[in-house]
């Protein structure tokens, strides 16, 4: 038991060294790909031995021909299986943030620049179910590697495997990859009934703003991250620069979601509660601000605002 563990540790360390530091994109170069006979391949080898013995025993030339033909096919199968992986470009794409406890899904883009299809590729992490897909010639395809999350913050994608037994199943070719990509994990929103944030009592039960109730109050210069729905297309048509329309909800007092209002909770519980509040307030389309120790986000609402707040919660460190 201890020995196998030792071997596994040694193997991992060797693999670590071989993999090198994580990169954002990579190409499956020849030296990164390993190939060995599969179990079916070993069975096939046994079959060839039996055919060969029969050929010798009966001095049967055509049995020799068949034996050597199949041997030739299996040797070539190794090259074909190898080719199925070699030269494939792999790139990690930004993963969408998730809440702790949900599965982070890392998009992995597989890019096949060649004329030949790469069929039946399997992507899997050390644990977890594999993703199986084909990459048609000259195109790319996205695979999503799922990874469970349990705590907020950045979660890295650990090493994963691309493997293939195509075309004949006699060999398994594989390559371990470690890509530099991470997924932002928000705190898990607190479940069940939660107390309202301070100063929001009336607003929470009062009228909620619906879309269309918003008042347009001006334009500002477009900033990266602004919603495209709010781009003032008409001004573009007039030849002006890109501008974003700004709205305000009327009659809605902004609520402050305050770290300090929850002294009775621990750090993670507070973040959970705040997370839930952010989501509720966003749901109600009610402007809200977030106050964390050393960080204040002014009241606003909208997807971008929400994401900014959630990000602050996810990355909060005392």
């Amino acid at each position: 038991m201890a020995v196998t563990a030792l071997f596994r540790r040694m193997g991992n360390r060797w693999l670590d060294r071989r993999l090198g530091p994580p990169v954002q994109r990579t190409r499956l170069a020849y030296r990164r790909i390993f190939i060995l006979p599969s179990r079916a391949g070993l069975m096939f080898a046994a079959l060839l031995v039996v055919i060969w013995l029969g050929a010798v025993n009966y001095s049967n030339s055509m049995a020799f021909l068949l034996c050597f033909l199949l041997l030739g096919i299996s040797m070539l199968a190794m090259l074909h299986t190898f080719r199925n992986l070699a030269g494939l470009r792999v790139q990690a794409e930004p993963a969408r943030p998730v809440f702790a406890g949900d599965e982070a899904r890392f998009p992995i883009r597989l890019d096949n620049p060649d004329r030949r299809e790469r069929a039946a590729l399997r992507l899997r992490r050390r644990t977890g179910t594999p993703v199986i897909l084909d990459v048609p010639p000259g195109s790319d395809i996205r695979a999503h590697l799922a990874m469970p999350t349990d705590r907020r913050g950045w979660q890295r994608l650990d090493q994963f495997l691309i493997e293939s037994i195509f075309p004949t199943g006699l060999f398994t070719a594989w390559s371990w990859l470690r890509l530099e990509t991470r997924c932002l994990v928000y705190p898990a929103p607190e479940a069940g009934p939660v107390p309202e944030p301070e100063g929001a009592g009336s607003a929470a039960t009062g009228k909620r703003l619906r879309e269309g109730d918003d008042d347009f109050y001006g334009l500002r210069r477009y900033q990266a991250g602004d919603s495209l729905r709010q781009v003032a297309w008409r001004t573009i048509a007039r030849g002006q620069e890109l501008q974003t329309k700004q709205f305000t909800g009327h009659g809605a007092d902004s609520t402050w979601l305050d770290w300090d209002s929850l002294p009775e909770l621990g750090v993670e519980q507070r973040l959970s509660r705040l997370c839930r509040w952010v989501l509720d307030a966003e749901d109600a389309r009610r402007p809200y601000g977030l106050r964390l120790p050393g960080q204040v986000i002014a009241p606003d609402f909208g997807a971008e605002h929400r994401d900014r707040c959630l990000r602050a919660l996810a990355l909060y460190s005392a």
């Binding site: 009966y58 001095s59 050597f68 070539l76 075309p167 573009i236």
Partner: protein, 659 residues
């Protein structure tokens, strides 16, 4: 037991292709399988097919076990064993059928395909002709296409897309196969005993001769051996292919001598030598055939006291050897050590009528040669008839033949003549072998068939040794010039190919035989002997050097194939619409706004519009046209043309300087 996964395992068309391929693999076996087993195989295949296509239930484990036991019992009941060629093939077929009934996973399917590969090889125990070679390629191709289909986890609903890659794989494997076939060290077989049934169906001469035994053999068109002469073939009257010699006579049967350790007799060559190569078909006996009288041979053989050539082991595979024969010779002139008595023995109480006849001759003639002629003339003067269908003789065969039926085949004439000579105190023995042979103009070689099987007599004269006398030739001279088909009466139905009359079908048959002869000579006869001779000629005499060359050639071919396979060709240029779009992207990139790696066309256009409001209308039009052409089926050529002109006119860099 759920049928869902069974149906999902293989899409309908793949399943159908699998069943048809297995049908092709097992079809030639049907010839030697008992009918009930063929039926079982068909039923299993049909059942599995319906399970996959119609959702029929497969048998559960207990039923399957029961079927296995019943099937195996059936095979044992039919063959008396389950080892050996015939029973083994039957067991394999049974296993394939039953495995089909439990084919539930991808792995089971792979096992079925492997069984298929194995069944191909068993077929070669029955036949190895050129048709079988085509069948080999075809079935291996079909099974490999299926293997690829099955191993693609993202299985498309058809096997057809993988037929091409399978053919490529096969074509690429052929050079490797050739290198291995020629250079892989061959070990002389057999490694283990050959069960009796191997010999079944193999025709050839036997080690004894009774009246009727050769005429039975002559019903067969099968090829006994093929001969290529270095120069001209000898005239038909000298085409006597010497086989087993039968000196022992018990009154009914001629047998080989039981003195295997006799040293070969003295011989003298008197000229008329011919050199030739023989490709001998397996006949499951030790005899080697050569023209009377072989003086030199390229394979190790032993020469018996009767001057019959034998190999140490039975000829179970096609072999090829070079021989020199002296057409004029003197064989054993002193009849050393053995007493002539051995060749004079006729049981006393047999053939009284013949004895009376011979005694009558002997009393009036005292010259040996005159006696021989008297006997031969007797065959010619009396109404003897040469026929492939002699009447059955039950009593004293020689007396009945000579005095009653007077119709017989070569063994009747040879046997009776030898008996008469022995009674006249002239040492005589029967020699069996083949007489004649037909030149195949395609390929220019001689075919000797089982229908050419023959028996003649050798007589010994003091100082002259053993001399060949063929009484059949006295009765029917046509036998020598026209072969069996031309010598026997029309009603005898000699085998079709023994008739030498030219015909369209016959020409075709001869050409096919020529093709097969090449195949036999260069491929099927290639065994340990031929390999050694080839290697000697190539200077690769010792096996280490051979292995070295084998490894080198394999690595070289693999390297070449690896270049071919791993050569990465860029994807085909995309369609014109795509090219136009790429040109547009390039222009925007030149203008400082490259497309993001993962940015779709719509997102990219939106961003461009934001960044370059001055070009918004153009960009939007181009993007919408492109998306329409690319992602809907309704794009027209006019629209593609419009896209092209718009992009051609699109100049983001110059347009910026204008604004």
């Amino acid at each position: 037991m759920s049928t869902g996964p069974i149906q999902q395992l293989l899409p309908h068309r793949v399943l159908l292709a699998l069943m048809l391929s297995l049908l092709a693999v097992t079809a030639p076996h049907v010839l030697h399988l008992p009918p009930w087993l063929s039926t079982v195989l068909l039923v299993c295949g049909g059942w599995r097919y319906l399970a996959g296509s119609r959702g029929w239930r497969l048998p559960n484990r207990w039923l399957l076990l029961l079927l296995t036991v019943i099937g195996a019992a059936g095979v044992i009941a039919h063959y008396g064993t389950f080892i050996g060629r015939d029973a083994g093939v039957a067991m394999l077929c049974l296993m394939l059928g039953l495995k089909l009934l439990e084919m539930r996973t991808r792995r089971d399917t792979v096992v079925v395909l492997y069984l298929g590969y194995f069944l191909i090889v068993t077929q070669f125990l029955y036949s190895q002709n050129l048709l079988m070679a085509a069948w080999l390629l075809l079935t291996v191709w079909a099974l490999t296409a299926l293997l690829i289909t099955v191993n693609r986890a993202t299985t498309p609903d058809n096997w057809f897309p993988h037929a091409g890659p399978a053919a490529t794989l096969l074509a690429q494997a052929l050079p490797l196969m050739l290198v291995l076939f020629v250079l892989f060290p061959r070990i002389p077989g057999p490694l283990w005993g050959m069960p009796e049934d191997e010999a079944r169906g193999v025709t050839g001469l036997s080690d004894s001769m009774t009246m009727g035994s050769i005429s039975e053999l002559s019903q067969s068109d099968a090829v006994a051996f093929r001969v290529e002469f270095d120069d001209e073939p000898p005239p038909p009257a000298l085409r006597y292919w010497r086989g087993p010699v039968l000196p022992e006579y018990d009154g009914r049967t001629w047998r080989q001598a039981e003195r295997p350790d006799d040293a070969p007799p003295a011989t003298e060559r008197l000229g008329g030598e011919v050199g030739y190569s023989v490709t001998l078909e397996p006949h499951n006996r030790n005899w080697i055939f050569a023209l009377d009288l072989p003086v030199q041979i390229s394979i190790p053989v032993s020469v018996s006291g009767e001057y019959a050539l034998e190999r140490r082991s039975a000829v179970r595979e096609r072999i090829r050897y070079d021989v020199r024969s002296a057409l004029n010779y003197r064989l054993d002139p002193m009849l050393r050590d053995a007493d002539p008595e051995n060749y004079l023995r006729v049981p006393d109480d047999h053939h009284p009528r013949t004895r009376a006849l011979v005694d009558d001759w002997v009393s009036s003639i005292d010259d040996e040669e005159a006696l021989v002629n008297q006997a031969l003339n007797h065959f010619r003067e009396q109404p003897f008839e040469y026929t492939l269908r002699p009447p059955r003789l039950d009593g004293d065969t020689v007396d009945q033949f000579l005095f009653d039926s007077q119709r017989g085949f070569c063994e009747h004439f040879a046997g009776a003549f030898a008996v008469m000579m022995r009674m006249a105190d002239i040492p005589a023995r029967v020699v069996t072998g083949y007489l004649g042979g037909e030149i195949n103009p395609t390929g220019n070689y001689m075919i000797v068939r089982q229908s050419d099987a023959h028996a003649w007599v050798e007589l010994w004269h003091e100082g002259q040794g053993w001399q060949r006398v063929d009484p059949t030739a006295w009765v029917s001279p046509d036998r020598i010039d026209l072969g069996l088909g031309g010598a026997v009466p029309e009603g005898d139905n000699p085998p079709a190919l023994s008739r030498r009359t030219p015909s369209w079908g016959r020409t075709l048959a001869l050409q096919w035989d020529a093709l097969n002869a090449y195949w036999d000579r260069w491929v099927l006869a290639y065994g340990p002997d031929m390999q050694r001779r080839l290697m000697d000629r190539l200077g690769l005499g010792d096996w280490q050097r051979m292995i070295l060359v084998l490894t080198g050639l394999m690595l070289l071919s693999l390297a070449l194939l690896a270049v071919l396979i791993l050569w990465r060709r860029p994807a085909r240029p995309p369609d014109p619409v795509q090219q136009d779009w790429l040109r547009f992207c390039k222009r925007m990139a030149d203008a400082g706004l490259p497309r993001g790696v993962s940015e779709g066309p719509r997102d990219y256009a939106d961003r461009l519009i934001r960044e370059r409001p001055d070009l918004a209308a153009q960009i939007d039009a181009i993007a919408r046209l492109y998306l329409h052409l690319r992602y809907t089926e309704r794009g027209s050529t006019q629209q593609a043309q419009a896209l092209r002109t718009q992009i051609a006119r699109f100049r983001p860099r110059t347009q910026r300087t204008q604004t």
